[in-house]
């Protein structure tokens, strides 16, 4: 997608006048709701099992959805600036975490690639990709990005994100060894295991950073939903549709957090990966290859 965009900088992916485009945009909206539910369910499940086991599920979900809706309605500039601040805090936090557990790093925690076949490596790659990539969202949001060096920045962003997450996984494995294997949330355990004195027992701080990242991801996805709506309806209608979407994701998230079987069936990593590829790469590539570029009048930041 970035490579095609490189050739067609000033264009929208979908021609909103056609029925096919409206159907595709609806599909994107549904995927974005699925993505938000995934993100919130994972986060809330982690919080309820670690730092906030006795807190109200409803209040947590509602608070996070309200913040994300507010951000999504505020627009791309607010979200962009918040994102930069959160990125700085997150990267600093990861570096501090890596320093804090450095004395625990032991090469006997390392494992051989493909020891049990290719499945583990493939699954982990899919896991890292789905956790770090934002391709379908970028299909909607890329018109906000400056056209100069856009393709390069998109690729650098995705690769940096993937490397950061892979790096955290690596540090977790080398520090915790087999202990990581029996933990449901090994990265949280890693923050609890910090041994460098000034950083000890700051797992709550790292959890807050994790919450900030998750809320930012949900906010950006709401922004993408707003963009989808903007393509088909007038701009004001998103002020109604996004809160309605918020209500839907709240209800679904609460249901999934309380229902482990449904969660395992609905939140499938392979399904998410497949949808990400189809909506993030295959459909935009096909549409751009078939359609003539349409000039946009979007504000660039």
């Amino acid at each position: 997608m970035p490579l095609i965009r490189l050739k067609n900088n000033d264009m929208k992916i979908f021609d909103n006048k056609t029925l096919v485009a409206k159907i595709l945009l609806t599909v994107y909206c549904i995927f974005f709701l699925y993505s938000i539910v995934w993100e919130l369910t994972s986060l809330i499940n982690m919080l309820l099992n670690t730092v906030l086991p006795y807190d109200s599920l409803w209040s947590m979900v509602i608070a996070m959805v309200l913040v994300a809706i507010y951000g999504g309605l505020k627009g791309v500039e607010t979200v962009g600036r918040s994102g930069f601040v959160i990125l700085f805090i997150a990267v600093s936090g990861m570096i501090l975490m890596a320093i804090g557990v450095f004395p625990l790093i032991n090469d006997t925690g390392s494992r051989i690639f493909f020891y049990d076949g290719y499945s583990d490596t493939v699954n982990n790659t899919i896991n890292i990709f789905t956790r770090s990539t934002f391709l379908p969202q970028m299909v909607m949001l890329s018109s906000y990005v400056k056209k100069e060096k856009m393709a390069r920045n998109l690729i650098i962003g995705q690769v940096a994100c993937g490397l950061l997450i892979a790096g955290i996984f690596l540090i977790t494995q080398l520090s915790l060894g087999e202990y990581a294997k029996i933990q449901q949330f090994p990265i949280y355990t890693l923050t609890s295991a910090i041994v460098m004195e000034p950083l000890k027992r700051m797992d709550v701080i790292f959890t807050v950073i994790w919450i900030m990242i998750a809320i930012l991801k949900v906010t950006v996805t709401f922004l993408a939903i707003g963009k989808c709506i903007g393509e088909t309806k007038d701009v004001n209608s998103k002020k109604i549709i996004i809160p309605v979407c918020g209500l839907i994701v709240t209800l679904v998230t609460v249901y999934l957090v309380n229902n482990e079987v449904a969660r395992a069936n609905i939140l499938s990593l392979n399904l998410y990966f497949l949808l990400s590829i189809i909506l993030g790469a295959i459909i935009p590539t096909a549409v751009l290859a078939i359609n003539k570029p349409i000039k946009t009048k979007e504000k660039k930041i």
Binding site: N49, V51, L104, I112, L176, G177, E178, Y179
Partner: protein, 362 residues
């Protein structure tokens, strides 16, 4: 105006969340150390609780079907809420160590506020007895018990193990973990031998000299002392500065070469002549022989007990992966056939301030 009201309201709401703990400090049971025993199929939990009034500690004991059940039953003796995050150590009594630590340790791995790097000890008596040790009618402070784990950094004859290391090593290739043994004389608490766990059960113990050999083999030894005696040089006491050990397979998969380099300083000698440069070479050889004998006997002892203290299982997995796949299920049998070839090189880096031994001057 609208903006100002919003900001003012936000500040009020935020300030209300900054008022401190939801549970006051005096309402908490601040647990500084935990001991676990097994009596008549019931877990007996003994905890050291910090007294906020005079900075001392008290001991509380409760019984339950599981460790958590027992800890929960502590509430009957105090209305306060248990807080484990400041716990310095966990002591597993001899009964738990024999029965299997894995049954007792699950709560500490699962519990969301547990500290994975808390120190763990195995006791050669009941944990309750250790935690009730008093000096001049006062309990031995928890900080002192925790500090015992630091003695590995100073004397080099004991090890320090955390919950994370114990669990990780026990679940890793070889399933062997080492935990220090804590003992009491009734008036003091001290670290003695080292327990070698196989699948979370005590399989054998290493003496302090064997523990020093083990620490050398994992390149963690520092501060340990050893004495080499010789007719010509008398008693040479060496102090270990650091060690570097490499383990590799020999000609066959059952032959393991161990190359150990030990950097030492001379702590004392009873040689009755001025020490010349060539004398240091002789001393290095004498010290290397002592270390080699100690290491060889330690390895034999551990592997005869079926404990893979050198993680040769992991070495086989990482260096001879295909071979490991063949023998993985029968590793315990293959481990018994391993032959170790130990080579030790001692470097005396510092000989101290003295040129001429005191024995010569006198």
């Amino acid at each position: 105006m609208k903006k100002t009201i919003c900001i003012a309201l936000s500040l009020v709401i935020i300030s209300m969340t900054l008022t401190g703990c939801t549970v006051e400090l005096h309402e908490r049971m601040l647990i500084k150390g935990i001991g676990i025993d097994l009596e008549n199929d019931q877990y007996v939990v003994t905890v050291r609780v910090a007294k906020l009034t005079d900075d001392t500690e008290s001991v509380m004991t409760a019984t339950g079907d599981t460790v958590y059940d027992a800890l929960n039953n502590l509430s009957f003796q105090s209305g306060n809420q248990q807080m484990y995050t400041h716990s310095h150590y966990i002591i597993f009594g001899d009964s738990v160590a024999q029965d299997g630590i894995d049954k007792a340790v699950d709560f500490f791995i699962r519990y969301f506020k547990a500290n994975p790097v808390v120190n763990v000890f195995v006791s050669n008596t009941s944990a309750k007895e250790i935690l009730n040790t008093t000096v001049n009618d006062e309990l031995v402070p928890s900080e002192e018990i925790e500090n015992l784990s630091e003695s590995s950094n100073n004397a080099g004859k004991t090890i320090s193990t955390t919950l994370l290391t114990m669990v990780s090593d026990s679940l890793d290739y070889g399933s062997t973990a080492l935990v220090p043994i804590i003992s009491t004389t009734g008036e003091s608490v001290y670290l003695g031998d080292t327990a070698v766990l196989k699948n979370f059960q005590v399989e054998t113990t290493l003496s302090s000299d064997e523990t020093m050999a083990y620490l050398s083999l994992i390149s963690q030894e520092k501060g340990g002392s050893l004495v080499a005696s010789d007719d010509k040089y008398g008693n040479i006491t060496g102090s270990i500065i650091n060690t570097d050990c490499e383990t590799a397979f020999g000609d066959t998969s059952s032959q393991v070469d161990v190359f150990l380099t030990v950097n030492m300083s001379i702590a004392s000698i009873t040689f009755s002549q001025s020490v010349l440069d060539e004398d240091f070479d002789q001393m290095e050889e004498l010290l290397a022989t002592v270390i080699k004998n100690n290491i060889t006997s330690t390895i034999e002892h551990a592997y005869e007990s079926g404990c893979d203290i050198l993680k040769i299982g992991y070495l086989t997995y990482s260096k001879k992966t295909e071979y490991w796949k063949e023998i993985e299920d029968n590793w315990d049998e293959y481990m018994m056939d391993l032959e170790f070839n130990v080579e030790v090189k001692v470097n005396i880096l510092r000989s101290g301030e003295e040129n001429r031994p005191t024995t010569l001057q006198s």
